[in-house]
């Protein structure tokens, strides 16, 4: 058992290197290696289902033990990391085929696997050094993944890495502060130190660590890197970033809120509002603001991936909001939403990626009418948006419902209202997404578009099935979550396979009933529909145009500025743009950074790869030998 945690951690790294080498042999060797190793990681991960394992020392650094650990909560995040990575890699095989330069591709797969490994490391970490080390590896490798997307993505990556560095420094300072007090960075020791130190110290530590996680989780106002990075990254990378990478921030928050700082501690050192410690209450408000503002911004987007990116900010807001409630139901809802968001957001990014793959554009106003050409992708996207909008019976609904109930129980009504607003707003932007891409008039230049190849469809199907299963049987996920939360001192919540009985919640939920009644009424309505005379299919040009004839030349498709009138309503809110202030800073940093960084970042991928490999090797060597050196 001991070995296997390390094996699990090592598999993607080894796989990454082998993939890179395999790429020199043949591209199929590389592809098969990449898929195999991510599959292997998933397989190894699944062994840890329902396992709790504390403290597996795998090295030491600065006299602090390096520990790997696992429990059901980490398993949940491992599941997200490994499964989405596998699907992304499978999707990449066809999606990245157009890339001519095989070096680019080799390093691409290697970086994918490295990011996966780094995230596994973060989740498995049992001490802050391991955590921080893999955190950094994740930041840098994902930066390289983002810049694969071309010229614009360089800027986006810059923004991302600069903000990541700021977050990392904050984190580093916090870790150094703890280390200076405790001389050990293992979680239980840290928790002990925090509980014994002065409240000011503890609050500072939490704030500093929190900044790092907030940057990664893209909670407003530290979100500005996300829209650019997630939209400019290559289409298979976006699901990894949006679905998984930002969850690491959420995981980090979970660790500091409930791992390093017990609930009592928080209550003791700071005042409470609505029985929530004030710091958590502020976090809740930031999360709620993220939900609302990012929803508004998503509504106004004209670019499919940017829209999804903003929606990610909004959805991660739910996760953080749930995590910060501090009640069992809320935290469980937050964790469950992290899983659900990973599933449906990856699904959406893959579906949009499939559209980009076939049409070459992600500009919503250039698309339209693709439902007849790409029906499978359409179904995938529709399932994704229904889940995202939180409409029963799909998975997004259940976790949102839990968060709402938790807020309602705590009478945090204003947060609840904001969460609700974000969710109704989601109807707007998800409909815009599906309408602009798949409905409306098919443009002439997309006459010959086909559905995507089977290798790209499989990941989408897997995610569609997962969306439905976790929606109808939320108990499957709750098994893991409730068990894991017990270890962090949460009271268990009553649940069953299909939902929640009335008791620990203010109302009851049984999704299977909703789903089955919906299905039955749908079938009844359909049969009733079929009783009447058949419909004849007409072309999209045989359309009402006030008596005039619709011709292909006519621009008869409403897509640009879909919610322009709504935009007029919310305009006053965005008079002061946070982003503009940030952009100014980033530009300044760029001017400064360009001079020095160009020396190091030559723009040559081979060089980058060698950097990564060297860094990883040195880190590994330092850690493995660390105990002996220091």
């Amino acid at each position: 058992m001991n070995m296997s945690l390390e094996l699990l951690l090592a598999t993607p790294f080894i796989g990454g290197l082998l993939t890179y080498i395999g790429g020199k042999v043949h591209r199929w060797v590389r592809n098969i290696f990449a898929v195999l190793f991510s599959l292997l990681t998933l397989g190894e991960m699944s062994l840890f289902y329902n396992t709790t394992f504390k403290g597996d020392v795998w090295g030491s650094l600065f006299g602090s033990k390096l520990i790997l650990q696992t429990n059901p909560i980490t398993w949940l995040f491992l599941l997200i990391v490994t499964s989405i990575s596998l699907l992304v890699i499978v999707f990449s095989v066809d999606d990245m085929k157009h890339e001519e330069d095989h070096i680019v591709l080799d390093s691409y797969y290697m970086q994918l696997l490295f990011v996966e490994g780094a995230m596994i490391g973060i989740v498995l970490a049992g001490d802050l050094i391991t955590f921080f080390m893999f955190w950094e590896i994740m930041s840098w490798t994902s930066y390289f993944l983002i810049v694969h997307g071309g010229k614009k993505s360089m800027d986006a990556g810059y923004k991302y890495i600069i903000m990541s560095i700021i977050g990392a420094y904050a984190m580093f300072v916090a870790i150094a502060m703890i280390y200076s007090k405790a001389h050990s960075l293992v979680y239980p020791d840290v928790a002990l130190v925090l509980s014994q130190s002065s409240p000011t110290f503890t609050i500072w530590i939490i704030i500093l660590l929190g900044v790092g996680f907030f940057v990664k989780a893209a909670v407003m106002p530290l979100h500005t890197w996300l829209p650019d990075a997630h939209s400019e990254a290559p289409s298979p990378v976006s699901p990894l970033l949006s679905g998984v990478l930002i969850k690491m921030g959420a995981y980090g928050l979970f660790i500091i809120f409930y791992g390093l700082m017990s609930a009592n501690l928080a209550k003791n050192i700071m005042p409470s509002i609505f029985s929530t410690p004030v710091l958590l209450y502020i976090v809740q408000w930031l999360a709620a603001l993220s939900i609302v503002l990012a929803t508004f911004l998503a509504i106004m987007q004209e670019d499919a991936k940017r829209l999804l990116a903003y929606s990610s900010i909004s959805q991660i807001g739910y996760v953080v909001l749930g995590l910060a409630t501090g009640t069992s139901l809320g935290v469980a809802g937050g964790l469950f939403h992290a899983l659900n968001h990973a599933i449906f957001k990856s699904l959406l990014f893959l579906a949009v990626g499939a559209v980009i793959y076939r049409t070459g554009t992600r500009n919503l106003s250039d698309l339209g009418g693709l439902v007849k050409k790409m029906p499978f992708t359409f179904v995938a996207l529709v399932v994704g948006i229904i889940a995202l909008a939180g409409v029963p019976p799909l998975n997004g609904f259940v976790s949102k419902w839990m968060i709402y109930e938790a807020l309602l129980q705590k009478k945090e009504v204003f947060l609840l209202i904001m969460a609700f607003v974000g969710s109704t707003g989601a109807f707007l932007y998800v409909y815009r997404l599906v309408h602009s891409i798949f409905l409306g008039q098919l443009s002439q230049k997309h006459e010959n578009v086909k559905d995507v190849p089977i290798l790209m469809q499989i990941p989408m199907w897997v995610l569609v099935i997962a969306t439905v299963i976790y929606g109808i049987f939320p108990g499957l996920a709750m098994d893991v979550i409730v068990k894991g939360m017990k270890m962090f001192g949460f009271a268990p919540i009553a649940y069953n396979l299909y939902g929640f009985p009335q008791g620990s919640t203010m109302g009851a939920l049984k999704v299977i009933n909703i789903a089955s009644v919906l299905m039955i009424s749908f079938v009844v309505a359909w049969i009733f529909f079929l009783l009447f005379s058949k419909s004849r299919k007409v072309s999209q040009y045989d359309n009402y145009a006030a008596g005039q004839v619709v011709t292909p030349e006519l621009k008869y498709n409403y897509s640009f500025g879909f919610y322009m009138s709504f935009g007029r309503v919310i305009k006053p809110i965005f008079k002061i743009s946070i982003e503009r202030i940030y952009n100014y800073w980033v530009d300044a940093a760029k001017i400064f950074g360009d001079y020095y960084m160009r020396r190091v970042y030559t723009g040559n991928l081979e060089t980058y790869n060698s950097y990564i490999v060297i860094v990883v090797t040195i880190a590994a060597a330092a850690v493995l030998l660390g105990g002996k050196i220091w």
Binding site: L408, V434, I514, S521, Y563
Partner: protein
């Protein structure tokens, strides 16, 4: 068991009948307000049946045809979650919060279908519909929260039960009830919120390409829709009812007052409608919510 099945079949039928009767009455009352004689009372039935027996139907694709079907399926689903005169099939399977989302299923299905008609008028109509939905959802959510906090439950059956003996929410939370009434206008698309289908602007909006049996289905789903919105209002604020006649009378009273106002108001523009909902109804609902919180 037999009773369960009977209710399962009967509830949607009763809901449809009530909704349809309101459609009939509405046309007659509106005609009288407009100094006309008005159509025969069962005119909507003729209209729906005529549409259903059209010999020719057109479709722009599968999604286009699915739109009206999902609209009806979603409406039937919502019917089960609203306690109807003592019967409440599924209130134990989904509470008020779930109901808010369930009520959206039909509209979203309809929106998908209308989008597939490849007509900008339909697209504008849906854009307006969703925007309007966003507009009235804010006050609606606030009043739903205040009612839930008032009775410490989100289960609609319990809320109805708590209002027994004339202890209606209307008396305890009059401000919320007023906002609920205003929200119902938007939810039903009555004047001045008939922005979605405004014929002079977008040529009936989402329905622009629907004809024949598709349109008939949309009319049926509208009947359900009327029932759902008003039944929800009655359950939340007028204490539901223990028998169907009283339930109907309460619904009728609400509907009647609604028509009286709606025929003398011109139409809002969509952004003004959202601004309106986010201004007064929201403020009033928040006041009511704060009253509940303080109590």
């Amino acid at each position: 068991m037999v009773k369960m099945i009977l209710i399962a079949i009967g509830a949607p039928l009763v809901a449809f009948a009530i909704g349809l009767s309101f459609m009939m009455i509405k046309r007659k009352i509106v005609a009288r307000i407009q100094r006309r004689y008005g159509p025969t009372i069962i005119q909507p039935i003729y209209d729906v049946l005529k549409l259903l027996v059209k010999e020719d139907n057109i479709s722009h694709g599968v999604i286009f045809s699915l739109g009206p079907i999902i609209a009806i399926a979603g409406s039937i689903l919502a019917v089960f979650f609203i306690p109807m005169a003592g019967f409440s099939m599924l209130t134990g399977s989904g509470d008020l919060i779930a109901l808010l989302y369930i009520m959206a299923i039909g509209s979203l299905g309809m929106a998908l279908g209308a989008g597939d008609s490849a007509n900008p008028n339909a697209s504008i109509g849906i854009s307006r519909a969703l925007t309007l939905m966003f507009g009235y959802d804010l006050p609606l959510v606030i009043i739903v929260i205040s009612v839930a906090l008032q009775y410490h439950t989100t289960n609609l059956s319990d809320i109805v039960a708590a209002q027994a003996n004339g202890n209606w929410t209307l008396w305890t939370l009059p401000l919320s009830a007023i906002v609920g009434f205003v929200v119902t206008y938007g939810a039903l698309g009555e004047h001045p919120f008939d922005i979605v289908t405004a014929p002079h602007e977008v040529a009936t909006g989402p329905m622009v390409e629907y004809g024949g049996k598709h349109l008939g289905f949309l009319m049926i789903s509208h009947a359900f829709h009327i029932y759902i919105e008003i039944a929800l209002f009655v359950d939340l604020f007028l204490g539901g009812a223990s028998n169907i006649l009283i339930f109907y009378l309460k619904m009728f009273a609400v509907f009647f007052i609604m028509i009286m106002f709606d025929e003398v108001l011109p139409r809002f523009k969509i952004d003004d409608a959202v601004r309106f909902y986010w201004k007064w109804p929201t403020v009033v609902a928040l006041i009511s919510l704060i009253i509940v919180l303080v109590k």
